[in-house]
Subunit: 349 residues, 2 copies
């Protein structure tokens, strides 16, 4: 009788164990530490003409710094995860979803990972170097030399982020919460990356430095920043334990550099409806470039994986898959990959 | 003997009570809820020329939205506090201080207040309307019509933020952690407020709307935004239970409008060394304008208070008093004021 009771109790406990794990994913959240800081940044001399409140100034400003906001959960032991947003967006990408659900930033903390959100250099709280704009305004630089500012319209986002076949019409299986698209549009802010050198984006350098500062981290990039983890690793791989490349085109890295990347576990993830968008660029071409990248990494002895969601039976995901209705499920897939390929293997540098 | 033991135990408990309160101010932090959202925002039609990654687009963008990040502590009952940063800064102002201490954002959460950090409209994660810049670049708008971008140099900040008598030299009693000034400089980002209508800043509207959404809040402004709580109240006072105006010049509000403001408890705070800076503007003039404002509010029956810190025996505070070495002490003064003038009185609307 006692044994039977004991077994029954054990069965109940076993049944409850997954519930307990799930329970941590809602309700009060206890964090060990949180805050924000900057990585990098250099002084630059400027002559600033009088503008509004401020008088003419001659002196130094700081440029190229990267703002990082972080939360560290109570239970230690997991590798830190660094999230970097895409074009015309900020770290808001990873926070509360447009329809008000928990974003990946908090979800990963609740799953036990220290989470670091970086605003790209030249975006949001990282600021940007406004010197060229000021020079054009005062006539010391030709208008044509002014950096272009990237802006995505609602219509552009709907089509290219793969919400549906035409603006306002969703795909039948669409996972993006299209009823809350207006909230996504509020996240879309001017992209000033053209103020940065195209082949030496300081965000890559700061991502590598952040990995080193954290004594090892998984870097996650999305869209415009999708290949930034690899770019960071090519600058300094020592702090990069894993690279997660979401929804971007992969570059044809030369063989000698591929050797560096092949030492770091790599995951690429793509959503659905890739073939439905061919203008202004082809999502299928992006997928193919990343399939080729993954195959090259494998041939070079690397641990690389492509998660093309429709091929895994997960349908309807948009370009903004961290905001899609099944975002927690996708996060769980990343968590499982980090567990198997980074933490259990002790992978990366 | 038993009674004596009981009294001793009581004495120990009484002595420990303040320590228990202090203990919540470090160590693990449990929060009930956190996230981010936008207040306001309108659609605007644009013709965007092809720029870098993106093709030419004709469609809508969203402008004038205000990004808000929040944390709600476990223990309820306190009025929400909304913090809005100053010129050439972002909500980073209120987070981890330049020398790595806890900022007011977390400190107020630990003191039991729901905290809302707003990036001003046209700054950081709120984005900005880049149309005028793009129009200048493509030649459809004259250069002179391009909005000026405000930038503060290191040298400007040192002097005007009152770190010391000349760049690199601190006042003997300086409270700003000058050894970490480089970290403040990284927070200084281009200010695009000239893209907004000067007399109808959408940040004022969104602050008022945020107060209403929160069913009552204390609004805190600093420097450029120091008088924004009052500006918000003049648009819609219903959600504004208190106004805290830090380190700014106060406006000569017409009598009829003053009546609206006089119904809301108001606190003004200034640091030290005001008389040591006279260029490009006089801090003493700012203090005097606010003294006059407080006196007018009182005459109109308002509950208004000036906390001029040196007059209270608190010396050496800079313009960035939320980052000064005694920042927790100043936060405690705000908490005590909110307790007495907002919460106990049930003040405001």
């Amino acid at each position: 009788m006692k044994n039977i009771r004991g077994l029954a109790a054990l069965a109940i406990l076993t049944a409850l164990a997954p519930l307990a794990a799930v329970a941590q994913l809602s309700g009060p959240l206890t964090i060990k530490e949180q805050g924000s800081f900057f990585v990098g940044g250099e002084s630059k001399s400027v002559k600033q003409p009088a503008t509004g409140l401020l008088p003419a100034q001659e002196g130094s400003i700081t440029v190229n710094q990267m703002y990082v906001q972080y939360q560290i959960p109570m239970k230690g032991g997991h590798v830190p995860v660094v999230f970097v947003h895409g074009c015309c967006l900020s770290s808001k990408t990873w926070e509360t979803t447009p329809d008000g659900r928990m974003g990946w930033s908090e979800y990963f903390v609740r799953r036990g990972y220290p989470v670091y959100l970086a605003d790209q250099v030249s975006r949001a709280r990282s600021g940007f170097d406004s010197s060229a704009f000021t020079a054009v305004r005062s006539g010391t630089l030709a208008n044509a030399s002014m950096p272009g500012i990237l802006v995505g319209t609602h219509e552009f986002a709907w089509m290219v982020f793969r919400f549906g076949p035409k603006f306002g019409e969703a795909y039948p299986d669409e996972q993006f919460p299209v009823e809350a698209a207006d909230e996504l549009y509020k996240q879309m802010i001017p992209d000033l990356n053209q103020t940065l050198p195209a082949n030496a984006n300081p965000t890559w350098t700061q991502m590598a430095a952040l990995g080193t500062r954290l004594k090892g981290a998984v870097l996650v990039g999305h869209s415009e920043s999708g290949f930034f983890p690899e770019r960071a690793a090519l600058i300094d791989p020592q702090g990069i334990r894993g690279m997660i490349t979401i929804e971007t085109g992969c570059e044809a890295v030369p063989d000698d550099k591929l050797q560096v990347l092949a030492r770091i576990p790599t995951l690429v993830m793509f959503g659905d409806h890739l073939g439905d968008v061919t203008k202004p660029f082809s999502w299928m071409d992006a997928l193919n470039s990343c399939n080729a990248f993954v195959e090259r990494l494998k041939k070079a002895g690397g641990d690389a994986e492509m998660m093309y969601l429709p091929a895994l039976g997960i349908k309807g995901n948009s370009h903004m898959l961290m905001q899609d209705k099944n975002s927690n499920r996708l996060a769980d897939m990343l968590v499982a990959w980090i567990d198997r390929h980074v933490e259990r293997k002790g992978g990366g540098h």
